[in-house]
Structure formats: structure tokens, C-alpha cells
Symmetry: none
Subunit: 221 residues, 4 copies
DNA sequence: TATGAATGAGGATTCATTCAT
DNA sequence: AATGAATGAATCCTCATTCAT
């Protein structure tokens, strides 16, 4: 048989990724087997090895597919373009993230949730997996922008922080992490207790952030 | 061997739990097999079934051993006994939790971290596993106490919350969850980015909580 | 501990036999394990070996207990004592066997049914098992009596067989075997097709036997 | 190995069936394990699962192979085609069955013998096993034909039964069952007592049947 | 390239049986 | 005598992976 086009191979790999994603939706990442993917993709048993050497590579591919679909960076930039003051920007960014989390728990969220454990337990996989996690970067991009806005707000005299900057950023990162965790448990697994309102939750985060930035609330709610 | 004392059996089960814990320290919970435990404990293949029916029971036992070692509830009560005002109590509670997390990431933290994923993915196991998690309850106990203190503070006029109570409590839970997550990743797996200072982090949480409770800070830092 | 009385040991063995019988009532002979018996008898795991070396010995003991309970020989003799002519004796004997089968399918019948297969497949066990099967002998005793009655009937001129004697006896044995088989399947296992009326069936056998013995029927039924 | 022809797979399954049959010849059906078959067939441990899911499926396949080899139905039809009167047909049918039993005890007979016990003890397996037993049907087919011939004989006035039809049919079924049992024990296991002559035995059955149908014997033997 | 048969390691579990106490 | 803990053989089954065609 003749050399097959690059495009063909790419297409095949995509098919496998999609199959892997379907498998992922019904079983945990750490239980996903080559056989699951093979069956779901309708491949022959040996066939998959032409495209991926093992199940980890399939997982990495799937994770990347899922996480790069959403052009988070662009959207963040759009938001920033529209806002006038830093206070407003921060509020908008956080609310946006709340909505984003709500919209993508079942894909990005669930993956990140389970991936963390896998990667943590198999550092040797970290290299090949983490280096491709655009989404991870995206989350960090949002934090970066937040940091920028804060700096800017300080420069313009809009903010007079009562807490060191790094602590505020770490604080926000921690809170977002916790929210993501909670949302995934409730929405993806029907586990966890109580309910969660992502938007309200992020708005409240915004208020505490602004408080740490020394911004007085106009009116007590 | 003849009839053996209760103590002997208990001891044996402890040995197995310890072996399981050692296994847990080098591989994820979801990869732990009966055989791992058997080998680590130096048992014969069939031997373990006298003490535990399956790997889940071993895990539950191990988790309980780890989590019940620290008498969290008592310590929390001690703290509350010593504090005078609710503001002080809340600050103390949060700082205590920060120290507690710091001290037990490698045991309690890691377990809770991985357990969450397992239970989330296998709700059918939840019943048999979760029902024994004293620590889970303990975490909630702290939140309960916090809630009590807030209520009390409101009654005594100490607090005038600018945010609904439930939102504050959810906020605290979310933040703590995020912190735990971060700490585990950094301390247990050397994954995650940056550093983390549990105590400082919880102190900051305390400040934002008090802010939400309408307490003025004496002096801006 | 002092020497224990013979009686004690005997009692213990009986207990074990009874337990084995209870096990037998819920699972096939070939699946009965030492553990089943131990559990049912409430013994310690090692304890049973004091009384029986292996499960086969337990089975043999149980079979013997079950089969010797019914004093078939005496009953047959009683019947013969009451009858006047050989024709009558033969009819009575067969009807009696029909009732007997009906009454004891669940014990003797089921055992014989399953035992046959076991013994057939493990001839080495035959020796120890078969040699004790009093019931087997009893079935043969009935056939013997039948044979006697036929001979007697011939001598007295009551019968003028149109078939060689041995064939008649073999015929009867075969039919009885088939009936037992059928009855066990239907009554013990709810398997097999249709219904069965042991008494009617044996009466019909009686008629064909008498036919073979040259006895005219008075009136067509 | 690449895609292989249907024939190859069929051949492989046949090989496994043959191996199973060889195993069956030296141990009871209920002791046959996957491992036995694997070893006998020279397969690798996991290899057999491509062809059969469990030992029951292997057994079913083996039973079917053995039982469908002999085209019983056709042979019965041939016999019926050649006979003129019902009396003759009945005699021929029974003699044929006698010969058939004699010829196939070691295969069909032994299987049916042991299968009965297995199925009886595990009704849940009945469904998957029994539904494929063509031979079982064949035995019933012979009885059906017999019934037809009797009905026909009555219509033509050839028979004037002195016993209800159903009883006669049940009688024949019972006798045949008993004969099969006896033959298997003697020929397959060298167990059981005495000898057996299948043909003679079935001829005698024929005579008693005709007697029940009201047919006079020409001459006393 | 694709196929899928074959291999064999890995893991769960059950029991008969031994033997120290 | 009795106990029951311990052992290890035996079995079932699932998968990742190789490789001949």
C-alpha cells in the first residue's frame, strides 16, 4: 500500500480521540483501557498502535482536544477590551470564569479533576501530559490578566490594597480551584453536598477581592 | 493455630492496614490491589481474606486508621472553649485548620484527595466507604462550628453581615477545599505551581470572612 | 483431655452426617465441599478431620444414614406375608414400590440419582461407597422377591410365562429405574416434562408383567 | 495474525470441541474446567476466550457436535417410509432405538446421562444449554412418531387399546429412559449389575406395547 | 497498512488441609 | 480434643501487546 497522506493519519487520530472521549464520559480516566478505546472506535486490536503507543498517549490527545476547543484566551481579551476601569475588569473576568466553569464542567472540568490525580500519581507521565495542557495555561492566563488589572488599578490609584498582591492572586487561584472541585463533584458525579451557583459564587469572590484591594463598597447589600 | 485473642486479630488487621498504607504511599488508591497488600504484608495469597473481603474494605480500614488518629473534634472544642468573642473564635478555628492541613497533608490530605475521585466514579462504593469516614464529618464539624459562631456573633451584635449567611459558609467551604487541593498537589506530589503557606492563607480567609460579616479592620496593614 | 467415649464420637459423626444432608438438600452432591459441611455443622475448620478424612467419607456416611432409615426389607416381608397368590403378591409388591418411591424421592431418590453419576465417574470411590449401599441391595431384594413369586407362580401353575424369566426381571428393573429417574427429575428438580403418577405407573407395569407371565386379564379396564 | 476465514474460526472451535470431548472422556462434565480444555487443546490461557466465553458454552458446543452427528430424524423417517402397518412400524421404531442406543452410548448416552444431573442442579443453566439439544428433541421425535402410529392404528382398526393412550406413551418413555440409564452404567462406567441386550430389551418392550394396544400375539414364544 | 489471533502476565478468590497452641 | 490461622494450589478471567499474513 502506498504512503498514506498526513491528513489521513491526522483524521484517524482524531477519531480515536473522540472515541476516547466517549469512553471517558462513562468511566474514570484511570480505568480507561486500550480495549475500551479500540471497541468504541471500532478499530482492530492492533490497529491503534499505529497511532498511539499506549493509553496514556490517547488520554493526552483527548485532553488536549477537549481543552483547546474553547478559545479562552480570545474571550478573555475581548472582555478586557470592553471594560473601562480595573474594578469593572476584575468583576467581569471573575463572572466570566464562573460562567465558563458552569458551561464546561462536563468536559474540561471533569478531565482536569481526574487528570490531577493521575498525573500526581504518575509524575513520569506529567512531562508528556502537562506540557500540552493549554487549558491549565489558560487558567493561569486569566490569573495573569487579573494580576495586570490589579497592578494597573494601583498605578491609577483605583486600588489601595490592604493585602500583598501575591497573596491576593494566590487567594483567587485557591478559591477558583475549590469552586471547580465543588462544581465537578456536584454536576458531574452527583456527589458532594448541597448546591452551587457558579456565578453568584464568583461575584462574591469579586467582592472580597475588591475589599482586599481597598475598594469601598457603595452600599451594603 | 488455635483460637486467638481478639487482640491478635485486631493486631493483624492493623498490620494489614499499615501495609496498605505503605502501598498507598507509592501508588494511587485506584491501583492498589489485594496482591499489593498481600505482598507488602508478607501474607500468603489466601490469607488476607480472613481479615478483609476485598480491597475496598482494606482501603476503608486504612482511611479510618489514618483519619481517626487525630482527634479533630476534641481539638476544635478545646479551641472554642478558650476563645472569648466570635471574631476571635473564627480566626482561631481557621488558623487551626491551616495548621492541621499542613501537618497532615501526607496522610489525611492525600487520602481525601484520591478518595474523592474513587467515590465520585463509583457511587456504588460510596455507601460502604463514605459511611466510615470520620474525618469527612470532622471537616464538616469545623464548618458547623464556624456557622454557630457566626450566628452567635450576629445575636450579640458583634457581626452585621453584608452577605447572606449560607453564602459565607459555602464560600469558606469552597476556599478550604481549594486550599487542601493545592497543598496536596504541592506537598504530596511536588506538582502544581508555586508555594503555599497554609497558615497565612487561612488568616487571609479569616479577614475576608470578617469583612463579609461586617467587621471593620482596626488598621490597614 | 481424657479419652472420650465411643458414643460421643458416634454422636459427633451423626451430627456431621445430618449437616451434610442439609447441605445436600440445597446443592448437588458433586459441589458439596468440606467447608459447606463444616459451616452447616458449626464445626471448626480442622475439627471435621477428626471424624472424616475427606468429603467423600462424609457423603458415604450421609448416604448410608438416609438409605438405612427405611426398613424396606421388613416392609416387603410384611406384604408377602399377607398375600395369598403370586399374582396378588406381584401386584402388591409393585404398588408398594410405587408408593415407596413417591414417599422417598427427596431423600433416597435424589441421592441415588446423583450418586450414580459420581460413582460412575470416580470408580475409585465406588468401593467405599457402593459396598455400603443397603438401599441398592433393598431394591434388588424386591426384585429377588418378585423373582421368587414368579417361580412360585410357575410351580403352582398360576403362571405360564410367554417370556424368559430373566428377561422379565430385567424388564421390571429397567422400568423401575426409568420411573425413579423420571420421578426425581420432576419432583426434586422441577425439571423433566409432564407429570407422573407413581402408583398408576406401577400398576400398569404390573399388568404388563402379568401379561408376560401368561395371565389373562379378566376384563379390559 | 490477520483476519482469518470463517472456516478457520469454525475449525478452531471444532478443535476446542474435540479437546473438550477428550476431556469429557476422562472426567465428569461437572468437573470439566476451562483449564482442562485449554491444556487439552494446547491453547494459551487467554486464548480460548476468543471462541467460548465460559465452560458451559464449550460443553454446549461439544454436546451439539456429538448429538447432531447422527441424523436421527432422517433415519426415523426412513424407517416409517418402509413400514406397511402400524404394528410393524412400532416394532421397527423400537428396535431401531435399541440399536441406536447401543451404538452411541459412549457419546450421546454418557453426555445425556451427566447433562441431566447438571441441568437438574442448575436450572439457571438450563436455558442456555437445553435450548440447543437437538438430540433431546430427537428422542421426543421418536415418541411422537410412536404416538402417531398408535393413533393411526386405532383409526384403521388395527389396535384396540386396553390402556389409555397417554399412559402407554408415558410407559414407553419411562422404559426407554430406564434402559438408557442401565446401558450407560454398564457400558460407559462398567458399573451397574448384570448385562444388557438393547435389542432384545426393546423387542420385549414392543411386545408389551402391542399387548396394551390389544394386539393378540400369533404364537407364544 | 490493517487485521485480529495468540500469548502470557496479572489479579481475585476459594478451599482442602496442616499444625501450633 | 478442639480450634482456627495460615498456606498454597487451582481456577477464572481480563488486557496490553506482538506479529504473521
Amino acid at each position: 500500500m502506498p504512503k498514506v497522506s498526513e491528513r489521513y493519519i491526522e483524521k484517524k487520530k482524531e477519531e480515536i480521540r473522540d472515541a476516547a472521549f466517549r469512553v471517558f464520559q462513562r468511566k474514570p480516566l484511570y480505568e480507561m483501557t486500550m480495549l475500551d478505546v479500540i471497541t468504541e472506535a471500532g478499530l482492530s486490536r492492533g490497529g491503534i498502535y499505529k497511532y498511539y503507543d499506549n493509553v496514556d498517549q490517547v488520554i493526552v490527545a483527548m485532553v488536549n482536544q477537549v481543552t483547546t476547543q474553547n478559545e479562552l484566551v480570545q474571550k478573555i481579551d475581548q472582555i478586557l477590551a470592553k471594560t473601562r476601569c480595573s474594578k469593572n475588569a476584575i468583576e467581569e473576568l471573575l463572572v466570566f470564569l464562573g460562567k465558563y466553569i458552569q458551561a464546561h464542567v462536563n468536559t474540561v472540568g471533569k478531565i482536569q479533576f481526574e487528570l490531577t490525580v493521575m498525573v500526581a500519581n504518575h509524575p513520569e507521565k506529567s512531562a508528556s501530559i502537562v506540557e500540552n495542557l493549554t487549558e491549565q495555561v489558560a487558567g493561569q492566563y486569566l490569573l495573569q490578566c487579573l494580576f495586570q488589572q490589579i497592578l494597573q488599578g494601583i498605578e491609577t490609584g483605583e486600588f489601595e490594597p490592604i493585602v500583598p498582591l501575591e497573596e491576593i492572586v494566590a487567594y483567587v487561584g485557591t478559591y477558583i480551584d475549590g469552586l471547580l472541585h465543588k462544581v465537578v463533584l456536584i454536576r458531574c458525579y452527583q456527589a458532594g453536598t448541597g448546591e452551587v451557583d457558579e456565578e453568584k459564587s464568583m461575584k462574591l469572590l469579586g467582592r472580597t477581592v475588591l475589599y482586599m484591594l481597598g475598594v469601598e463598597e457603595k452600599k451594603a447589600k
